[in-house]
Each structure stands twice: as structure tokens, then as C-alpha cells.
């Protein structure tokens, strides 16, 4: 009887065991159409283990960048870029406010679109990440040793900086194009004078590999279309840049209808080596355009905003051979160049087929002058003369293409919501997989470079619509990305994971390329902040009229000084706080009751400044916000605020030591 029981128990265990899968894979019908048990193994990163890839996601209309690990999809960091961030005090503390200065004043938000990693010899070098702000045209640099935004340059003569910041093969330039043509330079004109007055520009930004040196190298004035996306040539096509356009109709109202009248729009192919020659020859116009260049110095821990004036502008009709138009099917969106640099893919975003142009044929057509038209001095090449092939996709609404290292392209289809894998050799479709839902960009780590990482192991789908994929959260739902394994013949969906804002685009890089260059903390000895306090004995409070400067320090687990008296209503109080820690992962926060801005979040060895303007008398506590030690809750202090006309003496103290007037 006992042994019967035992056998019965064993049978139950065995059946449960086999039913639950053990890697055998049961088809699950909840919208992924794949074997989940295998997928779970592929994306599982055990506790304490690292992901294989860093992935830098656009924060979309949050204006930021988020860093995720792949294949887990785990969120590692939010990097504030174009929008203020109370968590880190970015744009609120005195040090980073200058980062968001523009000719329009302080602009505390933007719409970030395309994170692009710096390139050396056409490959990701792991030095920097760049990203564009679409609304108030700007490009930011993020230093990959600190994962902080260290530089922002405003792009003048531009409205809607969408096609950006694509780097050239060695990051000689970052590309930028104006999405909304506007009067250039700006002026007050009737909107229906569009055809007469509105122009577009392409901008080439230099200094991508030199921190603090980003600048407008030159701009090219082009016809008033909408310029959408950009990409650089590579290998044989190095020296060229490509920009898609739509609205060749030059409509200025109800563009949804009026900008989609013609069968073809154009890819502008720019010979930027030629542009350099024209600049050297002085064939440019000097325009008095103004723009800001903002730079965060890691030694002073401060940003400086510098207003600059003057850009060099080239006009194609005066510069033969500078720009050509390559016809592309109606209203193309992305323009992508394959790893060998020979194929240029740009598809009509309302069409079914993919159009692949040949760079070699383009050069031959230019030499043979196979021009169908000339627009404002820009020759339009014959479509058939440059066409390499057409992929009959069976999908609808192709947007973007990236590549693996095995001769395949992967194109996102927005309308039919799928990824289509096709061969660059046969132009035949190899595989297709639905994306949930309405995929915009897709990205293969390194898939836009000359050497995709691991020849293309993962593909990330950046989806515009989430619908029913997650627990509902009221009217506004999570935005989401999806991870595919593309190492085999068939694409395999591995993971859905939420992202911040609209996850417009992402670039991934093998973690080993940047993991070893991480800064762990800032050396106190190298702190050159003008208001630094390197030792506790130097903490002090100084009044200059209505301004009070408090020089404080933080170390586990106290704030020095921690009792301050003599502040008066109406004072502008500047808290210059230095974190004296010299160890990894010991930031301290600093917050004071009623502050109208945010907290400070100060890394070890760093100094930051919070402006505080107390409005009523009383005692105000301040404290460390980032749980730092066993006695974190004790890390606090008080400020006494007296009436404007009170004669409270200025004094400050820590423990028995009292200082002051």
C-alpha cells in the first residue's frame, strides 16, 4: 500500500514536470506565436549577472535617454538630456541650467529621437552617444564614461530637427536636416508664400570626437521640402550623406493630403568632401545666425552656455556636384545604407515594395549626366539608372531598414505591423514576423554600421502602439519595445519590455566595449568647481547683500554645517554642496523644505548648487535624500529663517563648533 502511494506520488510529480515543459516548448497563443520556454532562457540574466549589451533608447517626448540591458530589457539608467529631471536636479541646479539655454531662452523640454553612437572606421567605438532634440533643434553628446550629458549644440536655420544626428564614418560630422522648411533666415511672411520664401537646410556638425568642440561646420540651403531622415555613406560611399525628403509638392496646409500628390519624392545625396573643397575655396555665404553651444566641464562640474554667431552657408546652384536628388517612391521616411556601403534603401512609406538604389550606379549616372530634371541647381538622377533592385515585400508601409553581417536586410512595416527579413543578394523575402503593434524604427546593435555586433544577434522593434500587451494603466499605456533573436534563419520573438516615452530609436553596443571605461567617482583633488569645499573645516556661510552662499559638505552620515541661523526672508540662498565621499555608489542627495526647484543628487567628489528662496520665517529642515548608510535618517540639519528686518546674527555650527559673526 505504502509503495503504491509512493509510485502514485512519483507519477504525479513526473506528469507535472513534463506538463510544465522543461524546455520542450509549448505553443502559447497570447500573441507572440513562439515557444516561450526557450525564449525565457535566452533573455534570463541571473541575479548578479550582467547583460551582454547596453542599449541606449530614445526617451521620445520625455526628451531623455534610457539605458537598458539586453537581452533582459532591464532599465539601468535614465540620462536627462533635453528635459529637466527633478530626480537628478538636472536643469534645476545651477551647474546644469546652462545646458538647456537656447536663443529662445531656457527650454526645459524636448522631443528626443535618434540616439547614435560615435563611429571610428565605420564601427561603434564606444566613445560617445549623440541624440537630437526635434522640437527646438539641438544635438546632445552623452559621455559614455559617465553616462552624463556633457554638451548640447543648437542648430540654427532649422525647424524640426528630425533627420539627425547620424555620424559619418569617423564621426567627422554629425548630420542634421530641417523637417519643417521655414523662411531661412527667419522672417515675418505670409504662410501661403511657402514656395517663394521657405527653405530647408542640411547641417554638418564638427567636433563629434572632441569634447567641448562641437560646432556648425557648414550648412547647405536646399529647396523648401520636408527633410525627414539622414544617413551617412560608408566604405565606397564614405564622403556622401543621404537625406530623404517628402512634400516635394511644397504644400503648406493639410499636408496629410497635399504632400502626398506626386508618385516620387527625393533622396538628397550630398558630397560632403566636395563641400569641404567649396568651403576651403571660400564659396560660402557668411550668415549672422545665432545659436548656443553649452558644455559641461567634468573638472569644474559646471556647464557654460555660450552664444555663438555666424555660420557658413553653401548654395547648391553655386556649387556644382555638391547635391543630387535620387528619386524615391512617394514620401519616403528612413534612408539606410548597408554595411558594405553600396546599397541605399529608402521606401515610400505608403507603398508595399522596397526600393534599393546602388551607390555605384549613382556615381555612374552622375558621370553620364543621366539627369531627368534640375531643381534649384540640383540635378535629379534618372530613377531606373540608379535602381539596384526592388523587394516585393507583401507588407505595407515600410519605414526603416537595418542589416545583419550576413547579407540580409530587416525592414519595419508600420501599416502591416511586421518585420520583414530579405536578402540583399536575391531581393527575396526570407522571413516575416508580426510586431505588436505598429512598429516604427527597428534596430540591430551595430546594424547601421560597417560591422554589426556578432553579425547581428538581436533585433529590437520600437513600437508606436501598445494596446493590450500590458496590464492597462488608464488612458495612457506603457510604451514598448520587443526583442527578437535574429541569429537563425527565422526571426524569433523573445521579449516585450516597457520603455520611457515613445521609444523612438535605440542603438545597442556590446557591453565589453564600454564597461571598462566607467568612471566610478570623481577625484576630490581634481574638483575645480569655483564653490567647492574639499574639507569640512572650510565649510562656511557668506552673505553678500541679499545673497547668501552656504559652502557645505556631505559624508556618511552628516551634513556640515547642520545648524544655520541668520537667513532672512527674501534672501537668495545658494547651497554649494560637495560630496566628500571617494567610493563607488555613494551619492548623497540634498533637499530642503519648500525649495521651488528640486533636490541635488551629488556624486562622490562632485559639487552642486541649489538656489533656495525662503518666503516665510521659521525653521526649515534639510536632509540627505539618497539612502546612504545605517544612519542616513540622521543625516539632516536645520536653517533658521528670520524676518527681513530681524537682527539675527549669522552663525552656523556642527556639533560643538560654532562659527559666525
Amino acid at each position: 500500500m505504502k509503495s503504491l502511494n509512493f509510485i502514485f506520488t512519483l507519477l504525479i510529480i513526473a506528469s507535472v514536470f513534463f506538463y510544465s515543459g522543461c524546455g520542450n516548448g509549448s505553443e502559447n497563443g497570447t500573441g507572440g506565436a513562439m515557444s516561450y520556454s526557450n525564449a525565457a532562457e535566452k533573455v534570463y540574466v541571473a541575479p548578479g549577472e550582467y547583460d551582454e549589451y547596453y542599449a541606449f533608447f530614445s526617451g521620445g517626448f520625455s526628451g531623455q535617454v534610457t539605458v537598458h540591458g539586453l537581452p533582459s530589457g532591464r532599465l539601468l539608467k535614465t540620462i536627462p538630456v533635453f528635459s529637466v529631471d527633478g530626480e537628478k536636479g538636472y536643469g534645476f541646479n545651477e551647474e546644469t541650467k546652462p545646458m538647456l539655454m537656447t536663443t529662445f531662452g531656457f527650454v526645459p523640454w524636448d522631443d528626443s529621437h535618434h540616439p547614435k553612437l560615435s563611429l571610428t572606421k565605420g564601427e561603434h567605438d564606444g566613445n560617445f552617444l549623440f541624440i537630437n532634440g526635434n522640437n527646438t533643434p539641438r544635438i546632445a553628446r552623452i559621455d559614455l564614461t559617465t553616462f552624463e550629458t556633457t554638451e548640447i549644440i543648437q542648430i540654427p536655420n532649422t525647424a524640426g530637427l528630425h533627420g539627425s544626428p547620424y555620424p559619418t564614418e569617423n564621426t567627422e560630422y554629425l548630420l542634421a536636416a530641417t523637417r519643417f522648411s521655414v523662411p531661412t533666415p527667419q522672417k515675418d511672411v505670409p504662410i501661403d508664400s511657402y514656395k517663394e520664401n521657405f527653405k530647408g537646410t542640411f547641417t554638418f556638425i564638427s567636433g563629434g570626437q572632441e569634447p567641448g568642440e562641437m560646432d556648425i561646420a557648414f550648412q547647405i540651403l536646399v529647396p523648401g521640402y520636408d527633410y525627414d531622415k539622414a544617413n551617412s555613406g560608408k566604405g565606397p560611399s564614405h564622403g556622401w550623406a543621404f537625406f530623404t525628403s517628402y512634400n516635394v509638392e511644397q504644400a503648406n496646409t493639410l499636408k496629410e493630403k497635399n504632400a502626398s500628390q506626386y508618385d516620387k519624392d527625393y533622396i538628397a545625396a550630398v558630397n560632403w568632401k566636395k563641400a569641404e573643397e567649396y568651403i576651403a575655396q571660400g564659396k560660402f555665404h557668411e550668415w549672422p545666425s545665432e545659436y548656443y553651444h553649452n558644455y559641461y566641464d567634468e573638472k569644474t562640474h559646471m556647464a557654460t552656455a555660450t552664444k555663438k554667431k555666424g555660420v557658413k552657408v553653401l548654395i547648391p546652384s553655386e556649387c556644382p556636384g555638391l547635391v543630387y536628388y535620387l528619386p524615391a517612391p512617394k514620401s519616403p521616411h528612413g534612408v539606410d545604407v548597408n554595411p558594405t556601403g553600396e546599397y541605399i534603401v529608402a521606401n515610400g512609406k505608403l507603398s508595399a515594395d522596397l526600393t534599393v538604389h546602388s551607390f555605384a550606379k549613382m556615381i555612374a549616372a552622375i558621370e553620364a549626366e543621366k539627369f531627368d530634371d534640375v531643381i534649384d541647381g540640383i540635378p535629379v538622377l534618372n530613377f531606373d539608372a540608379i535602381l539596384a533592385g526592388v523587394v516585393e515585400s507583401g507588407g505595407l508601409g515600410p519605414l526603416h531598414t537595418e542589416f545583419d553581417g550576413r547579407g540580409n536586410g530587416y525592414t519595419s512595416f508600420f501599416i502591416s505591423s511586421e518585420v520583414v527579413k530579405w536578402s540583399l543578394e536575391t531581393y527575396e523575402v526570407i522571413d516575416r514576423h508580426p510586431a505588436y503593434y505598429s512598429i516604427g524604427h527597428l534596430s540591430i546593435p551595430g546594424g547601421g554600421t560597417m560591422k554589426p555586433w556578432e553579425d547581428g544577434k538581436y533585433l529590437i522593434a520600437l513600437n508606436k502602439i501598445t494596446k493590450d500587451r500590458y496590464l492597462p494603466t488608464g488612458p495612457e499605456l506603457a510604451h514598448s519595445a520587443q526583442l527578437f533573436d535574429i541569429s537563425g534563419e527565422k526571426m524569433e520573438l523573445l521579449l516585450d519590455f516597457p520603455t520611457m516615452g515613445e521609444p523612438h530609436y535605440v542603438e545597442g553596443i556590446l557591453a565589453s566595449k564600454i564597461i571598462d571605461r566607467q568612471v566610478k567617482f570623481y577625484l576630490l583633488e581634481e574638483n575645480e568647481h569655483p564653490h567647492r569645499t574639499l574639507i569640512e573645516a572650510d565649510t562656511k556661510v557668506i552673505r553678500k547683500g541679499n545673497e547668501v552662499h552656504i559652502y557645505g559638505t556631505l559624508i556618511r552620515s552628516h551634513i556640515a554645517p547642520d545648524n544655520i541661523e541668520g537667513i532672512k526672508v527674501g534672501d537668495k540662498v545658494f547651497w554649494h554642496i560637495t560630496n566628500l565621499e571617494q567610493d563607488w555608489d555613494v551619492p548623497h542627495g540634498f533637499a530642503i523644505m519648500g525649495a521651488n526647484n528640486a533636490e541635488l543628487l551629488i556624486m562622490p567628489g562632485q559639487t552642486e548648487t541649489l538656489l533656495w528662496e525662503p518666503k516665510t520665517e521659521g525653521i526649515y529642515p534639510f536632509y540627505c535624500t539618497d539612502f546612504c548608510s545605517a544612519l542616513h535618517q540622521e543625516m539632516q540639519g536645520y536653517v533658521r529663517v528670520s524676518a527681513r528686518n530681524a537682527n539675527t546674527k549669522m552663525k552656523w555650527r556642527l556639533d560643538e563648533e560654532v562659527f559666525g559673526e
Binding site: 559624508i555 566628500l580 567610493d583
Partner: protein, 159 residues
């Protein structure tokens, strides 16, 4: 019989689970919080009485001290002022103990290991753990190099 049966069941269950490649087959992880050694650790009082043999835990195994080198001590004082004075006054207790007279109660190896490896010292060293209980806080690791710590030690010798 009953106990043999359940042992057998456990063995089968274990075999099945580990065959699946998950769970119990996981390789052992190294971490800070390793189980304590079997032998009964010294108490704070015992270790203090035995201080001449207590070298602490960390990179410094053996130091031979000669005459005090004043240049090295000056360098050590600079480092001490920058990295340590937020919590330690030279000659009176602040948030942590004063270094004055420390050479009469700790070995040079212990002092340097405490500077260089304070987290492990607070967890595992009997004196380090006693000091944690006394001062309620783990001393901050201020990122000194071994060379820096040696200079600070020399400064302590002049106090």
C-alpha cells in the same frame, strides 16, 4: 521504511529538477556575506587584548617600520586632512576615534587595512566589528591607494 521512501522521493525529485537545467545546479556565487567560519570568533575585548597579533583583513600583510620619515608624514597629513577630517579629528574623538596614540593599540598592518578595506573590517574583523558597534557607522572607504595609506600611517606615528 517510511523515511527511506521519502529520501528516495527527494532524490528522484532532485534528479528530475536538476535534469531540467535550472534551480539546484547553479554554480556557487561568491559574495560579501559568506557564512562565518566554524571556529568561534574572538570577541572585541579578546582581540583588543591580543592587538599585537591583530593585523586585520586586507591587502597589507606585513610592514616594517623604521625611523619616522618626516616627508612621508607630511604627505600623509595632507591626505588625512582632505580625506579623513570630516569624521576624525587628530587628537579628540569626533564621529570616529582620534588617531593620536593609535600605534600603542593597533599594529601598522591593522591601521592600513582599516583605511583600505573598511567594509570587510567592519563585518569580519573582531576589532573592526567592535568599533562598528561603538561608533554606529561603517567607516567610509575614501579610495586611498596603498601608498596613500602608508603615508597616513606615517603621519599617525607623529601624533
Amino acid at each position: 521504511m517510511k523515511s527511506k521512501g521519502s529520501i528516495f522521493l527527494a532524490v528522484v525529485l532532485f534528479a528530475l529538477m536538476s535534469a531540467c537545467g535550472g534551480g539546484s545546479g547553479e554554480k556557487e556565487k561568491k559574495g560579501k556575506f559568506a557564512p562565518p567560519p566554524k571556529a568561534k570568533p574572538m570577541t572585541y575585548e579578546e582581540a583588543k587584548a591580543d592587538w599585537k597579533n591583530q593585523k586585520g583583513l586586507g591587502p597589507v600583510k606585513s610592514i616594517d617600520l623604521g625611523e619616522v620619515e618626516s616627508e612621508l608624514a607630511k604627505k600623509g597629513e595632507k591626505i588625512y586632512v582632505l580625506k579623513c577630517t570630516a569624521c576624525h579629528a587628530p587628537d579628540k574623538e569626533k564621529l570616529g576615534p582620534a588617531p593620536k596614540g593609535i600605534m600603542d593599540r593597533r599594529t601598522p598592518e591593522w591601521v592600513m587595512n582599516m583605511i583600505l578595506n573598511p567594509e570587510e573590517m567592519a563585518m569580519k574583523d573582531p576589532i573592526g566589528r567592535g568599533l562598528l558597534m561603538k561608533y554606529n557607522t561603517v567607516m567610509a572607504n575614501q579610495g586611498l591607494t596603498e601608498e596613500d595609506a602608508r603615508a597616513v600611517l606615517e603621519y599617525f606615528r607623529t601624533l
